[in-house]
Amino acid sequence: MRDLEFFRNVSIGQYVDSGSPVHRMTPATKYLWLVALSAPAVASLGYAGALLPLLSALCAAVAAGVRPSFLLRGLKPILPLFLVVAVMQFIFGWPGDRSAVLFRLGPFSATAREAHIVLMAVARTVSLVVIVGLFTSTTTEGEAAHGIEDFLAPLARLGFPAHAFALAATTALRFIPIVAGELESIVKAQAARGADFGSGKGGVVAKARAYLPLFVPVMIRALERAEALAEAMEARCYTGRGRTRFVVYELQRGEWVARLAAVFLCVAIFVLDSAVSAPLAALLGVFA
């Protein structure tokens, strides 16, 4: 029954309150940094573009009073698992792979292209883990949900429902404890009737059927609550237009500098990446 205490374990991210200037910035600025660093980490061609965001994020973490070891901590138990990824690439070849063979073992061979794929995957993943970790350790859930409207404000002018999406996100956050509580009581009620989630015997179909009495009531209860909330909001003539907000984020000093710096850094990493990675890849014959 230890696993049934859902309520206590619901938390997203890992907020660290150090009260640094970075923490005090508006969520929109933090979102901008998140996107500016994630974009090269995701879409870069080479190692420079994948690893420079990591370096920048670690520097930003120091400025935010978040220890880099705290951000890297989550990676430690996972590092051996990258081996699994490498072994999978080693065992299964890519169709049409003509790059240099690094070494052979029986019928399997490791090629330069496979090595490149694994290293890039590791570099991108480590970077993103640290970047997202930095964002969640400097931004509370509430800030993240409210701030998304400010961040998407430029898109709202083009007709994107930024306010609606932010409201949906805040609604979701408010509903989490309720849904978690309902899941808990339903699982307990089913367990009391002898239901077995997880470790039971029987085929996958039997288990899926056992899942129905958990899934359906939770969904229906959530929809009922949504219905009630929507009715309450409509009764109060909520339209979403011209809303004032309870929480207003004030621009800190130097915030525009931080925003421009994020854009500049993003562009610089992409430029550097394309300048460095193409000759390097040609040298390795990775794309040959």
Partner: protein
């Protein structure tokens, strides 16, 4: 089934998003199979959102689900493949598209047989989800093509069937659709 007020759409997106987040964070969205393999039903709230309230709600729930998976992958990963979900092109984009595709399938089959349409949306949405996520994983070098194909055959098909059943069950209960066993019981309560 569409044409509800904007406020209702927003709130339903939030409520289904909350179910999604709770299932992700509490690790409840998995049905274990043999040998540690498990199939996921985490994407079903996205499909249900798309079926009940249209493509925008589906995509919003998909975005909330994807972002939660991303944050979880970065802060509390559970396995080697989990880790790759920190990449928004793997964790977020396929889930947003899932909302759109599930709604499109529902729309095509929505006529007199809403039950059938909901099932089709569940199955097709689930297949889309598997293809997009596995495709993105291959693209970013997390798993080789051969592994992705075998996972799709082994898991994707059963996931699709389960998603179809769950979507039908929830939509039928919520909308009071006549089913084989008579009217769904929960329909009278709402």
């Amino acid at each position: 089934m569409a044409s509800s007020s904007p406020v209702r759409k927003i709130v339903v997106a939030g409520a289904l998003g909350a179910v999604s987040i709770a299932l992700v964070l509490l690790n409840l969205g998995f049905i274990t199979w043999f040998a540690g393999a498990s199939i996921t039903v985490l994407h079903v709230p996205v499909i249900i959102g798309a079926v009940l309230e249209g493509p925008v709600v589906g995509m919003a729930v998909g975005a909330i689900f994807g972002l939660t998976a991303l944050v979880k992958a970065a802060t509390a990963p559970q396995g080697p493949i989990d880790l790759f979900f920190v990449n928004p092109l793997i964790s977020v984009l396929p889930r947003i598209l899932l909302g759109l595709v599930a709604w499109a399938f529902f729309r095509v089959f929505m006529g007199r047989m809403r039950g059938l349409a909901a099932t089709v949306a569940g199955v097709a949405g689930s297949v889309t989800h598997s293809i997009l996520v596995l495709g993105a994983l291959v693209l970013f070098g997390a798993i080789p093509l051969a592994v992705a194909a075998s996972v799709f055959v082994a898991n994707g098909i059963i996931e699709a069937v389960v998603a179809g059943v769950l979507t039908l069950a929830v939509v039928a209960a919520w909308k009071g659709i006549e089913s084989r066993t008579g009217k769904a019981r929960l329909a009278d309560e709402g």
